[in-house]
């Protein structure tokens, strides 16, 4: 439809960088050995996998043996939460928040069915969790606290360091879903005092279907699968070698670039927010400052998100929405409801997530096109102001 394509959906997934692809290719070609094999072909690949583990650990301030490769964020979250629950001799208590990704929330709902009790802590209107509320929720049965580092929809950054200190003080496991923040902002597992941390390669210009779980040394969780004993039995199965290589290369590159990239993305983000707020009846969702560098989430009053996405798509602009019509479940996003948006405002929400490759010129284009898309839909809407 449109000649120009502007991808502003990096929160959903990101393109694989050329350097990452280059690093992966040998492992899809001649380096096909099984890392568990004794022969030279296997040993060479084993050494590459362990090298990738070292790089991944380095990027997080972890020790090499604390990194376990998985199939992505979803699996890392499942291993952390279910694995910790499996270790309990009797049903216990879990603390999490209402704005977690479904890969945490729905695991918690399942664990409730298995007899565990879960506290879903509320957030304020900017999406922030109060660390004091976490401490208050702790009971003698609490065995794990799981709070995301950054929200995937509204980008709000949680005070994970403070929560980590609270968990450590009470000797309770602390897991954080750091899928959105890894490669975007510095992550140091020691500073954050996390015991378990989930990340996913496709959110930082790595391949899809590969992630990692950081497990602090000494933290005991039971594996969910049994098999050949790979990943020190925590996640058995022949390793996704090209994926692991791609993950470690992408993480290395993105962490190295954080100082420069963060500034660029923040300035793009703030410019986009300012530009969008110039349109009538637009509100910003999430926190004005404590948010992911590339995340913009706004609601356009009087019109619905999926139709805005479609209008943007016609202009070659890729974004996403938390509206009921675009959710598949016909409910607006649980995150937007949790920050207190009424159905109507949630229904008109659009998320632009910028990342590697986005430029000022992309922003010029988006800011040029959005008002027209919005105006056109408002003319159709019975709630829109007629001109």
């Amino acid at each position: 439809m449109s000649d120009r394509q502007v991808y502003m959906d990096h929160g959903a997934t990101t393109p694989v960088r050329e350097e990452v692809l280059e690093a992966m290719l040998p492992f899809l070609r001649e380096q096909y050995g099984n890392p568990s094999s004794v022969h030279a072909k296997g040993r060479a690949v084993r050494s590459a996998v362990e090298n990738a583990r070292e790089k991944t650990a380095l990027a997080l301030g972890a020790n090499t043996e604390e990194i376990y490769f998985t199939s992505g964020g979803t699996e890392s979250n499942n291993i952390a939460l279910r694995g910790a629950a499996k270790k309990q001799k009797k049903p216990g208590h879990i603390i999490t928040s209402v704005v977690e990704h479904h890969a945490v929330l729905d695991v918690c709902r399942d664990l409730e069915k298995e007899g565990h009790r879960v506290t879903y802590l509320p957030v304020d209107s900017s999406g922030l969790l109060d660390p004091a509320a976490v401490e208050k929720a702790i009971t003698p049965e609490t065995f794990i606290i799981s709070i995301m580092a950054a929200n995937n929809e509204i980008g709000t950054l949680q005070p994970v360091g403070e929560i980590g200190a609270i968990a450590a003080g009470h000797n309770i496991l602390f897991h954080t879903d750091a899928v959105q923040v890894t490669g975007q902002l510095p992550v140091d597992v020691k500073k954050l005092q996390v015991d378990l941390l989930s990340l996913s390669a496709h959110k930082f210009n790595g391949p899809k279907g590969v992630g990692a779980l950081y497990r602090r040394k000494g933290v005991k969780i039971d594996p969910l699968y049994r098999g050949g004993g790979q990943e020190r039995k925590l996640r058995p199965g022949t390793e996704n070698v090209p994926g692991i290589i791609g993950l470690s290369r992408a993480l290395e590159l993105s962490v190295e670039e954080i100082p420069r990239k963060t500034k660029t993305l923040q300035s793009l983000r703030d410019r986009l927010i300012r530009g969008l707020l110039k349109i009538d009846d637009v509100v910003l969702n999430g926190h004005p400052e404590k948010r992911l560098p590339g995340n913009v989430n706004v609601s356009f009053k009087y019109i619905e998100g999926e139709s805005i996405l479609l209008g943007l798509d016609m202009q070659g602009i890729a974004a996403s929405s938390g509206s009921a019509c675009s959710s598949g479940s016909l409910d607006p996003s649980h995150v937007l409801s949790a920050i207190g948006l009424d159905h109507h405002t949630a229904h008109g929400s659009i998320r632009f997530t910028m990342g590697w490759g986005n430029s000022e010129a992309d922003l010029d284009y988006v800011l040029d096109k959005v008002p027209g898309v919005v105006e056109k839909l408002r003319l159709i809407s019975p709630m829109g102001k007629s001109v």
Partner: protein, 127 residues
């Protein structure tokens, strides 16, 4: 996700806006997703002479509203009453299953508009 015809109706919606001196108005809303639609009719001698719509909703809701206005123009009220939500979706060449309920606004708004018309202009005749 949407076929070409749906995209065309979304991009170039027919008969948009409020109809000045409409004879009847029908509104409907989906409690499920929050989409709403208003349909305006001008009726002469039992025939729908003109029609327009306003819709707050997704691509499917807008496209079905637009499609419906094309389907009813020139039809008698009797013929128009027979149009179902399924007919509108069929005329559009189909909609993704999940979006069908979003398109269920159009025929409902039409039926409400016809009921509005009858209560205003035909009540005397039959009663």
């Amino acid at each position: 996700m949407y076929n070409e015809k749906v995209v065309d109706h979304f991009n170039n919606p027919r008969n948009v806006g409020e109809l000045a001196d409409a004879d009847a108005v029908g509104e409907t809303g989906s409690f499920k997703c929050g989409d709403t639609m208003t349909l305006y009719l001008k009726v002469k001698d039992g025939i729908i002479e003109d029609v327009s719509f306003q819709t707050y909703g997704c691509g499917a809701a807008i496209a079905s509203s637009s499609m419906l206005t094309e389907m009813v123009k020139g039809k008698t009220l009797e013929q128009a009453l027979k149009i179902s939500n399924q007919d509108v979706a069929d005329e559009l060449g189909g909609l993704p299953p999940l979006k069908l309920h979003c398109s269920n606004l159009a025929a409902d708004a039409l039926h409400n508009a016809i009921a509005d018309y009858r209560s205003k202009y035909e009540a005397g005749k039959t009663g």
